[in-house]
Amino acid sequence: MTEHNRKNKNGATLLARGKRSIFRSQWFYLLCAEVVIAIITGIVNPRFFTTSNLMNILEQIAVLGIVSSGMTMLIISGEIDISVGANIGFSSCVMAMMMRGGVAPIFAVLVGISLAVFNSFLVGLTSRVFKAPSFITSLAFISVFEGIALAITKGSFQTIYGMFETIGTSRLFQLIPLSFLISIGAYLLVHVLLSNTKMGRRVYAVGSNPTAAFLSGISVNWTKLGAFLFNGALVGVAAMVLLSRIGAAQPSTGSGIELRAIGAVVIGGTPLSGGKGRILGTLFGVLLMGLISNSLNMLRVNPYFQTVTFGVLIIASLAVSVLSTYRKRARVKAVSEGSVEQ
């Protein structure tokens, strides 16, 4: 196969770069769907293409984007955390209460983010120590977090109007929402982490084949716990952005976001089985969710049907990924049968 090799400019031999058809990447289908949805909505309701509406969409998907970035890494490592919504509720309540109590917002935010990190770490730790799937431990922690949040707030709204608005409401050049830029930062961070660091390689290895990872010197437990810690940090940031935008917190703040985040990750082509996936897919998955939600509003569809649409969307994305692996399998089979004859 030397004809495929080529010398690069420094004289070292490299393997052929290799091209994979764009039609096999999930994000491409998502982009197509997004363009189609945008065009249709724009035709029916021209207000869709106004700058203020487009910026609204970006603002609305910021929190989901931050949570989904952390979730992507966690799912690639073969774990999951469905308590992120309750975690947001808990930590945003703590942040709001501290601010109301006169603590400086920066300090309150730091405490809140640390709390979110600790919470997510607990989910991971219990899962590793008790050798239980993290789905189960995080399920249990949903009620723990919600319960504590209810207890400390006594179930009441924690309003902080006017105290902490900058992050959630300010716009760069009076145009681009700051919260959206923060979410772009989260995507970039996860991207760099996954593709350019040892930690990223560990995450993929542990998700793909934990035994092989262990036998190559990787600590499976610490890698997974690391993914949980990182997930917790992003959950904390998401709680901060959400609190700042709404100006109030209550224990149920953020509830339901876990399903939309997992949905966005899966739609983006990261399988729940772990070991595979890219942040680019998640980005387009989140965008699709925001877009659909917005265009259903624009088309004056009953809001209750939006929930139905999300469910259908996840099923549809599974169908796409099954179809593409099916095609790929057929190809792999052809290749391996061909190689027998060599």
Binding site: L14, L15, A16
Partner: protein, 505 residues
């Protein structure tokens, strides 16, 4: 043995997996009231023959006769209806149900009230079977409370209840003690006297000579003949199990050996490996042989830190190294190419670059990935080991078995280790890649590395090793100098049949 018609008869059965002939024109028949033994090395085709008999696989060629009638193919249902039952090493029993419930599993007796199980009726019926066979088997207790031998008895009771005519026993004594083995032997005799046909597979030749009526010998999927046990000496059986063509052997270059580089002292783990000590010199290839389940992989896993050792010390270049995990082992300079690359080594769904640079990036690099370096290193391995790949984005599972193995081995070549452990290095690899892997191992030895090679492939062990360590029942029984050992001699050590000249251990 009465000369009645056969229960089962296989004529010239051939089974092909890919390019490999697992069975090549093998004939086998079984009369009622006889114990027909099946012997052969690891991978000789015994299990495949059993699978054909139980309908689990369909042979490509040959004829099957059931009670004298030809059947085109045998599916599992037919096999069970014909009364062919298998007692496996790992019993397929439901631990949380009682002994009698397990016997009646899927076929429960109902009592007077519809849909309610008649537990008492079941208990009585099972007790009857157990009593007539004089089994030591409490019928009312849960299966999880039974010992290994009692579980086996339960499986046999189950087949008797189903009115089996043919009982297949695959290594029935491998997990039994002496006394339990004796009880089992008595039971087999009772069953035989009741007219059952028994197919008995065992590595332990003494059992076969104790209990068998006839013995069929397989070698590399080929049929070596069927003989009455009373008329064939042990030596002849062993000779027929081994003795391959010279073309099966690889002739390697000799390598000059240096000083002792790697030493293991009194390494042990309860229930797996008994106290083991050995050493390997620079440039030496130490082969480790033994039967399946003799503890070979367990030994190398202990050395590599993949299993926690109870006791023992490891020395590299005269200095003691502490190996508590694979990471420690890798840092110290020990590399392990595992058996079963799919389960233990490949990162499925990841490309060849990531698979090749896995160990290097994890253990010998800082927190950042050097994308250019890993491309260069992967290209180097691809060239050196002539791995057939399309481009760098190709996923490892898209490669052929031999090329996958080369990538996995390549993973350990990027950084110099002192000791290379290969566990079944050429399993499921085609002939061409096999030779390349052998050459690679010799090249490593030439560079002064110490090689430990676990293998079930006898020609491989004999042609590659400088010395051969023999594992039996979790014990390294002896280390033989490989100066003209015959296959026959080696397998004697594996199965523990003493030599005419006497043997230690």
């Amino acid at each position: 043995m009465e000369q009645s018609a056969t229960i089962v008869s296989l004529k010239e059965i051939t089974k092909i997996y890919g390019q490999h002939r697992a069975l090549d024109r093998v004939s086998f028949d079984l009369f009622p009231g006889e114990v027909h033994c099946l012997v052969g090395e690891n991978g000789a085709g015994k299990s495949t023959l059993i699978k054909v008999l139980s309908g689990a696989v369909t042979p490509e060629g040959g004829e099957i006769f059931l009670s004298g009638k030809a059947v085109r193919s045998l599916n599992p249902r037919q096999a069970i209806e014909m009364g062919i039952s298998t007692v496996y090493q790992d019993a397929e029993l439901v631990d949380s149900l009682s002994v009698s419930d397990n016997v009646f599993l899927g076929d429960e007796r109902t009592g007077k009230i519809p849909l309610m199980v008649n537990s008492k009726g079941q208990l009585d019926q099972v007790r009857q079977i157990v009593d007539t066979l004089h089994m030591n088997l409490p019928v009312g207790v849960l299966v999880e409370e039974l010992s290994a031998s009692q579980k086996q008895m339960l499986q046999i009771a189950k087949t008797l209840y189903r009115d089996a005519k043919v009982l297949i026993m695959d290594e029935p004594t491998s997990s039994l003690g002496m006394e339990e083995t004796r009880v089992l032997m008595d039971l087999v005799r009772t069953l035989r006297s009741r007219g059952m046909g028994i197919i008995y597979i065992s590595h332990y030749l003494e059992e076969i000579f104790e209990i068998g009526d006839r013995v069929t010998i397989l070698k590399d999927g080929g049929y070596m003949g069927t003989y009455p046990v009373s008329q064939i000496p042990v030596e002849t059986v062993i000779k027929k199990m081994v003795g391959r063509d010279a073309s099966m052997f690889f002739s390697r270059q000799p390598v000059e050996m240096g000083q002792t580089q790697f030493e293991v002292r009194k390494l042990a783990r309860g229930g797996m490996v008994e106290e083991t000590s050995f050493s390997v010199r620079r440039g030496e290839v130490l082969g480790i042989g033994g039967l399946v389940g003799s503890g070979r992989s367990e030994l190398v896993n202990l050395v590599f830190g993949a299993e926690k050792k109870d006791s023992g010390e490891i020395f590299l270049g005269g200095k003691r190294v502490h190996v508590r995990s694979p990471k420690d082992a890798i840092r110290a300079g020990i590399a392990l190419v595992t058996e079963d690359r799919k389960k233990l080594a490949m990162l499925g769904g990841r490309d060849i670059v990531e698979n090749t640079s896995l160990v290097h990036n994890e253990n010998f690099k800082g927190p950042w990935i050097d994308a250019r370096e890993e491309q260069v290193l992967t290209a180097k391995i691809v060239k050196e080991l002539s791995v057939a790949v399309q481009d760098r984005l190709q996923k490892i599972e898209e490669l052929s078995g031999g090329n996958q193995q080369k990538v996995i081995i390549g993973r350990w070549l990027l950084d110099d280790s002192l000791v290379y452990i290969f566990d079944e290095p050429t399993k499921g690899v085609d002939i061409g890649a096999k030779e390349q892997i052998y050459n690679l191992i010799v090249a490593l030895a030439q560079k002064g590395k110490s090689i430990i090679m676990v293998s079930s492939d006898m020609p491989e062990l004999l042609s590659m090793s400088d010395r051969i360590g023999v594992m039996r029942n979790g014990r390294l029984t002896t280390i033989l100098d490989n100066d003209g050992i015959s296959e026959e001699e080696l397998i004697r050590h594996f199965i523990g049949v003493p030599n005419a000249g006497g043997e230690q251990g």
